[in-house]
Subunit: 296 residues, 2 copies
């Protein structure tokens, strides 16, 4: 209970810092409304799970704050751009996101595509400031994020998703899809936060295992919530995956096994944290619980 209260306090403070950084670094004054569409797509919404993972991992290692805050903003920009593109008519054709009209509904498809493109570029721009972050660390952070966002990560997972709509998948293929589609960026969040410190090999490996478990748990719970919660609660269209005949953990494993799997992944995340030998792993531990216990 004590830990949860502290976590909520910590999370609120960190989220304020993330929102302020996003507000400062996502430009308002770009030409032709592009900045406005970018800001609409990323400000004032979302759980900010990825930024919190970055900042918690950095803090657990006593890492560099400026680098971590830039990493937090960069991963959120990548996540947000993927949602903007994913919502477009040629992909999921979704009109509601975080309880608001999606970017292409509000600004048109062309501007939405450009805004997503510019958000991805901005993520890498934010990671490479003229000063304030060691150049070698800048390069390492870009490397982690680019690999997680691209063909071997998020974009590759989306392609698998696209190719398998309406098909039955076995659990191994479903896991592979989600490991790339959502898992890679969640793992990168933990690793980028860790890279801002000076993790030894054991800590790096254990934190990576934590990140993988969190990534998978997040998706399993997402699939459960898609079946059990209404659109109001989720802030997006519920039951959509089922309607679209997309394979989910619930459709592949069944609801009870999916719930059990989420709990196993929580245990695995905690076990990995214990192996990481961190001075202060409380925030990371609390995030593992939140990811599994959330109701939206």
């Amino acid at each position: 209970m004590e830990r949860t209260l502290n976590f909520d306090h910590w999370a609120r403070r960190e989220l304020d810092a993330v929102e302020a950084a996003l507000d400062a670094w996502v430009p308002a004054d770009t030409p032709a409304g592009l900045g406005e569409a970018m800001r609409y797509g990323v400000l004032d919404g979302g759980k900010r799970l990825r930024p919190l993972l970055v900042l918690a991992a950095c803090q657990a290692l006593g890492g560099a704050r400026e680098a971590a805050l830039r990493s937090a903003v960069a991963v959120e920009l990548i996540h947000a751009y993927s949602l903007v593109h994913d919502d477009m008519p040629c992909m999921d054709n979704d009109v509601l996101r975080r309880g608001k009209p999606t970017v292409h509904v509000k600004y048109g498809e062309a501007q939405a595509m450009l805004a997503g493109d510019a958000m991805q570029a901005l993520a890498f721009e934010v990671l490479t400031p003229d000063a304030g972050v060691e150049p070698a660390l800048q390069a390492r952070l870009v490397r982690l994020l680019a690999r997680a966002a691209g063909h071997a990560g998020m974009a590759g997972g989306q392609a698998i998703d696209l190719a398998n709509t309406g098909r039955l998948l076995d659990e191994a293929t479903l896991r592979e899809m989600h490991r790339k589609k959502t898992g890679a960026l969640l793992l990168a969040s933990v690793q980028m936060g860790a890279a801002c410190g000076a993790p030894d090999e054991t800590t790096w490996r254990a934190l990576s295992e934590y990140g993988e478990a969190i990534g998978l748990a997040f998706q399993v719970v997402d699939d459960i919530l898609d079946c059990t919660q209404g659109s109001d609660k989720l802030g997006k269209t519920a039951g959509k995956d089922l309607d679209a005949n997309k394979p989910t953990y619930v459709s592949v494993l069944g609801m009870e096994a999916a719930r059990r799997h989420a709990q196993e992944l929580r245990v695995a995340a905690h076990a990995a944290l214990a192996r990481a030998g961190l001075a202060d792993a409380a925030a990371l531990a609390a995030i593992a619980d939140k990811v599994v216990e959330r109701d939206n």
Copy 2:
């Protein structure tokens, strides 16, 4: 004449190196056909002007070859992804590019959007290898490319273009649009190549002026060719900007003034090169001539 012959030889050798690097670094074996769509979008086509600018600038300064080759591939990936997205129905809705069906015609809109997204991520991945390029140089190259690709560069220019279709623009606004839309990436090509060497402030500034002149000249000539050449010659739909009522240098300045302006920019590019004090500026000088004299 001597210089032109040497340039053609140099360009052929360098283009072979660029094609081999693209072939090696743009993956074929990604899941669900994503890599195939990426390769279709970037391999075996295009004039590769940006890679040639990178390699010529690097060579003029005796810079690091591996870094320059990675930069050449990265800028071409950014350029190619922008074409893939630009051709889509919600943007220019073009079905022909480099004489072939566009990516979305061949692979569908969703895969085309994902392929473009993954190509952008890959550009930054290519710039940040585990070894072979100094980390501080990696960070500098990412910084240059991200700024040129994003809201203050290419994406911002596309947004201006989008907002002004069907409107009359004065020359200053047209120039501002192209300075961002195509000029920023051409300038970044020169600067990234230069950064692979060790330019002093005078050389950096002069090469940047060269890059700006080349960038503008390229667009002026593009607008001229769009009016004077057929689709066969261009490998894309000719007269499209005119049909779409897009402002061009020809529509704003008139054909004769546009031709004169292209020649002035060529002179400005050569003058900047002379100020740069380079040991070997022959390739850069030849590129300035090619950009203005090309017929496709």
